[in-house]
């Protein structure tokens, strides 16, 4: 398991470069922590076993915010995503993962891959089904939503759902709403 390191320290493996990543490795009843630099972290091969998932279970029991910081460790292989910074408000991916807070509406686009997964874990859903603001530009959203759902159904080869969603889409098209 890996997580970004915020404090400055030297890599525990090479002892030369500054550590940027924290690695937790669980062996039966103990957890070992390592702090690695970018180079050593790249070469590190995690020993993923059952115990790693025990750690995950513990994280899941925590509050939403702890859950978020816990999840940050699962994005360790997505270095590019973690380097993201919102051009509008300068919020970093790390800031989001550590606090659960984004800085502006633009962050929702910038950190989309991170947000999609964390939202689903916390809310058990990633799709709004409630009220829409009066006068908001949400036209066509039904069709857009259906198209996304259709894609998901195609990906999971859920043929009954594909057919049901296609019917709904055809109806919308028939009404000239698409």
């Amino acid at each position: 398991m890996t997580a970004e390191v915020n404090i400055k320290m030297v890599c525990t493996k090479c002892g030369l470069r500054p550590a940027t990543t924290e690695i937790w490795q669980r062996y039966n009843d103990r957890t070992e922590k390592m702090f690695l630099c970018d180079e050593c972290a790249k070469d590190y091969k995690p020993n993923v076993g059952f115990d790693d998932f025990c750690v995950l279970d513990k994280l899941m029991e925590n509050s939403p915010i702890s859950l978020l910081s816990g999840l940050s460790s699962f994005f360790g292989d997505e270095k590019e995503t973690k380097k993201l910074i919102c051009p509008n408000c300068r919020t970093t991916a790390d800031e989001f993962l550590n606090t659960g807070f984004v800085g502006c509406t633009r962050c929702y686009e910038v950190f989309e891959p991170l947000i999609a997964r964390t939202v689903k874990k916390i809310q058990q859903s990633d799709r709004h089904v409630g009220k829409k603001p009066q006068g908001a530009d949400v036209g066509g959203s039904d069709a857009a939503r259906l198209k996304e759902e259709l894609q998901e159904a195609v990906d999971s080869r859920d043929y009954a759902r594909i057919s049901a969603i296609s019917d709904k889409l055809r109806k919308l098209e028939g009404n000239g709403e698409v």
Binding site: F101, C104, H128, K131, V138
Partner: protein, 333 residues
């Protein structure tokens, strides 16, 4: 009107204005723009009074917090926080707290539908005056992902002495957790909750409709009311002990020379419980709820009109409570 177990219902909606950074990244100009916009929008609904956190005394701010009209965070953490409060203090809108806009309606008793209906008027007025941050996928966009979607938290304040005294409250909290609800002590946590007051609210805000949230909270409340009634039945197994506790509390409330906030919370809770069993006749249960707020430290301080030491405040609280309880509640024997 509230009953013996259900004190009040509160609904809040989290909203943000499109195109501006969320409060923790917002500058003063943007913050003012939002506050002014909300004030304009609300002027079309009814009379709201605006309080800027930078412009009111700490004491007045704490009083608003003790009345549950603002959150502790607005008072201590927000840089440009304000609140707009409706004339009867049932509706309030916090500005620049965790989100740009936090609308809230509090009504006595179990009033989920009525509270939602009222908050809709406020929400629609704001939405027709300001473009709100909204995405078809995630719904109302909020600064923390735990509030996405409806941005709605429906909570009910409950008086649960039976479950607390029978040490069943933790089991109840776990049970309700399975229904995706959260239980928190209003003043303190778990069995330490002062005055046996708890807040039950929905956890999920996304992927559920407002109607579903209202129904699920309502369902959880019914479940807790049943459990509380059973627990109050169990307390009767040792009726002499129970009656003695309640009468002693009544004695303290009417005769003590000084009372701390915690003691006041306790005696008010026991009098409320005494009313349930018919040991004490209470003319108006809502007035008891109101006393719970008016006994809090900042409210006491305000009542005296001068700076008091803790001891002086405790003496004043005992005097205040004694006068009120004597006119409000009498022993039935």
């Amino acid at each position: 009107m509230s009953d013996n177990t259900i004190i009040s219902t509160r609904i809040r909606l989290a909203r943000n204005v499109d195109g501006l950074p969320f409060p923790h990244k917002l500058n003063e100009l943007g913050a003012r723009q939002i506050t002014d916009g909300v004030e304009r929008a609300l002027s079309g609904v009814s009379r709201f009074t605006r309080y800027d956190m930078n412009g009111i005394s700490r004491l007045d701010g704490t009083i608003l917090q003790e009345k549950h009209l603002i959150s502790p965070d607005l008072l201590t953490d927000s840089r440009f926080g304000s609140v707009l409060i409706g004339a009867d203090e049932t509706a309030s809108v916090m500005v620049n707290e965790e989100d740009h806009i936090r609308e809230q309606v509090i009504l006595p008793g179990l009033s989920l539908d009525a509270a939602y209906e009222r908050i809709q008027k406020i929400d629609d007025a704001i939405a027709s005056n300001m473009k709100l941050a909204f995405s078809p996928r995630y719904g109302y966009l909020t600064s923390c992902v735990t509030n996405l979607g409806t941005g709605m938290r429906a909570s009910v304040m409950m008086f649960l002495p039976g479950l607390t005294l029978k040490k069943l409250i933790d089991a109840c909290i776990t049970d309700v957790g399975r229904l995706n609800m959260t239980v928190r002590g209003v003043y303190g946590e778990g069995s330490e909750a002062e005055g046996y007051l708890y807040q039950i609210s929905n956890q999920r805000t996304l992927g559920v409709t407002e109607r579903e949230i209202l129904d699920s909270v309502g369902g959880a409340i019914n479940h807790i009311v049943d459990a509380e009634n059973r627990a109050r039945g169990l307390l009767l197994r040792n009726e002499t002990e129970l009656k003695d506790k309640i009468y002693r509390a009544y004695g303290l409330a009417t005769n003590a020379y000084k009372l701390s906030t915690a003691e006041a919370m306790y005696v008010l809770a026991m009098i409320r419980l005494g009313a349930y069993y018919g040991y004490i006749n209470v003319n108006n249960v809502d007035a008891l709820t109101d006393l719970t707020t008016r006994c809090r430290p900042a409210n006491m301080q305000k009542l005296s009109g001068k700076n008091l030491s803790i001891e002086e405040r405790d003496v004043l609280r005992a005097k205040f409570l004694s006068a009120n309880i004597k006119s409000l509640a009498q022993k039935s024997e």
